[in-house]
């Protein structure tokens, strides 16, 4: 029996009913990871020994025996956490992130750590110190970023579900470019303890999967208050899986017409407009909404995210962990050399930009101004959600672009996140759902954004869409590895 390509929920049934040994599932997932990694470079570490040992002891739980890939900026004890950076390299965190503790308690089997843009800064995975991830649909193209490895691992069938992190779209945009579901929960829905910080007021751990029901299962496991993260909110966690199948008739879907204009690829626009019609068929009411300040979101984001990053990444100084430059005989020289040699270009660019916007004389002009416009963006959503239950937009303005196409033009790369950053600035949840293929056979996705704590609604809308318009297409490498048993 082959398990690759099966849903997480199906695997859980097989394991908990005693029909299949979790070890056999892990074995196939590990074989697939090892066999496809030379092509995809999706994994930075594949933990065969650890995963098989773990699988041998698993027979119960909401994720019993489900192989999972984890972005390499989330701490898993006994595995590396490089953040795609030379400055951390093979750093092994001595503790588990809270989301990892919860996955393990639920019986998940972590098979590996996935490649990503360095410190989650990027939209193409080209900023990894360990090489670009290749899009499973077309190896000449990027998988999106920054959680490109997790997206590619799910799209190619190596694992049914994976974790990433989303600071400005880093789960939703690669999910769109790889043709899978990607959910960024509400800020505070799950713990950031053990997620290596990029921009703390925006970061959130997110979930990749190939179906809404698998994503619902994983979210149900990782969501909830954590005393280790003071920003997690004391809000009850619904049973996402049981709330999935309700009707969406009568749901009000907000349509922000202005976001479907300039800069959006024609095929993407058409595909997402078709989705709006599908929701009409499902009985949803489509209402016009406006997000008047959305066009300022990228500018606000690149001030706030870089400011927070310049502070968060100050801890990487060659003293307590990771890489230290040699041949420095004085402390400050050691800091400067370590950070020069340890960080890649994009990380340096963002640290310097963040240092600039926070520096004396510029704080009010840039940082305070950005926080004010952030307040306006939050208000835009508040007003819009008085009129609708969810807002539909494209996830990415384009399908997967060519490796190298945007590397020399950071600003053009930043605009890849134009539809996704608003959710992080406002703290609202967002989800990418695949909705078609372009003429070049590349996935197209749409995004649903909802009010705070509306993950159940978003997943229900995603599930309803899946029932009517199932995205059954897979990249050529999907589950390409033959049954190894």
């Amino acid at each position: 029996m082959t398990f690759l390509g099966k849903s997480a929920n199906d695997l859980v049934d097989l394991v908990t009913q005693g029909q299949v040994d979790a070890k056999a599932i892990a074995q196939q997932s590990l074989d697939a990871a090892e066999s496809l990694n030379p092509q995809l470079n999706a994994f930075l570490q594949i933990d065969r020994e650890g995963a098989l040992a773990r699988a041998a002891s698993v027979s119960t739980g909401a994720l019993a025996g489900v192989p999972m890939a984890i972005k390499d900026n989330i701490c898993v004890r006994g595995m590396q956490a490089s953040c795609g950076s030379k400055i951390l390299g093979d750093y092994q965190p001595p503790y588990n992130a809270t989301v990892i503790e919860r996955l393990l308690q639920a019986g998940a089997v972590i098979t590996g750590k996935t490649n990503c843009d360095e410190f989650a800064m990027g939209s193409s995975n080209e900023n990894s110190a360990f090489g670009v991830v290749r899009n499973p649909w077309d190896a000449r193209r990027v998988p999106g970023g920054s959680s490109g490895g997790s997206a590619a691992a799910v799209a190619s069938g190596i694992v049914p579900v994976a974790l990433g992190s989303d600071t400005g779209g880093s789960v939703r945009q690669p999910a769109s470019l790889c043709g899978v579901i990607g959910l960024k929960p509400t800020y505070g829905r799950n713990s950031r303890y053990g997620l290596i910080a990029f921009a703390s007021s925006l970061d959130q751990v997110g979930v990749f999967g190939r179906s809404a029901s698998d994503v619902a299962t994983v979210l149900g496991v990782i969501a909830g208050r954590d005393p280790h993260d003071a920003t997690t909110a004391d809000v009850p966690v619904p049973n996402y899986a049981s709330e999935l199948k309700g009707s969406v008739a009568g749901a009000r879907l907000g349509f922000p017409r202005a976001l479907f204009g300039e800069g959006l690829e024609v095929e993407v626009r058409k595909s997402v407009l078709d989705v709006v019609d599908v929701y009409r068929q499902l009985g949803a009411e489509v209402v016009d909404v406006e997000l008047p300040h959305a066009s300022y979101a990228i500018a606000v984001y690149y001030i706030i995210a870089t400011a927070e990053a310049s502070s968060n990444l100050a801890r990487f100084d060659g003293v307590r962990y990771g890489f230290r430059a040699e041949e420095a005989d004085e402390l400050r020289q050691m800091y400067r050399k370590t950070r020069d040699e340890g960080f890649g270009a994009e990380v340096k660019r963002r640290i310097m930009l963040g240092t600039y916007v926070l520096s004396a004389g510029y704080y009010d002009a840039y940082y305070r101004k950005a926080q004010q416009v952030r307040a306006l963006i939050k208000n835009d959503f508040k007003s819009a959600f008085e009129r609708c239950d969810a807002i539909i937009t494209p996830t990415s303005p384009s399908t997967a672009f060519m490796i190298g196409e945007k590397v020399d033009d950071p600003l053009s790369m930043y605009l890849s996140d134009i539809y996704t950053v608003t959710a992080n600035l406002a703290g609202v949840p967002g989800i990418n759902i695949p909705c078609g293929l372009s003429a070049e056979n590349l996935p197209i996705g749409f995004q649903l954004l909802g009010p705070y704590w509306s993950e159940s609604t978003l997943l229900r809308l995603a599930y309803a869409y899946e029932q009517l318009q199932p995205f059954k297409k897979h990249p050529p490498v999907f589950a390409a590895v033959p049954n190894s048993i």
């Binding site: 001595p94 310049s310 100084d317 962990y321 005989d329 310097m352 916007v357």
Partner: protein
Amino acid sequence: MPINEADIEKIAKLAHIDITADELQTFVPQIAGIVTYVEQLNAVDTTSIEPALGGLTPAGEATEASRADEVQPSLGQKIALSEAPDAAAGHFRVPKIL
């Protein structure tokens, strides 16, 4: 405001990053371009708008974040030092400071 080489050198120093002459040549136009782009925010009237500090939702703000002031288990010295590039005699050793 146009950003020049001297600005980038000053910022790099503040950020404790050595940058090479080549990097300087690349970063000056790139960072200047990004700063020009973000300055479009000047067009937004934010008079009397309170800045949104942090990312918390109203429910997040209402959540009690403090805990009892009690000693909790921690990593301990050995594990805390285990990933250091140069740990010695129970501490982090660094090059001379003065």
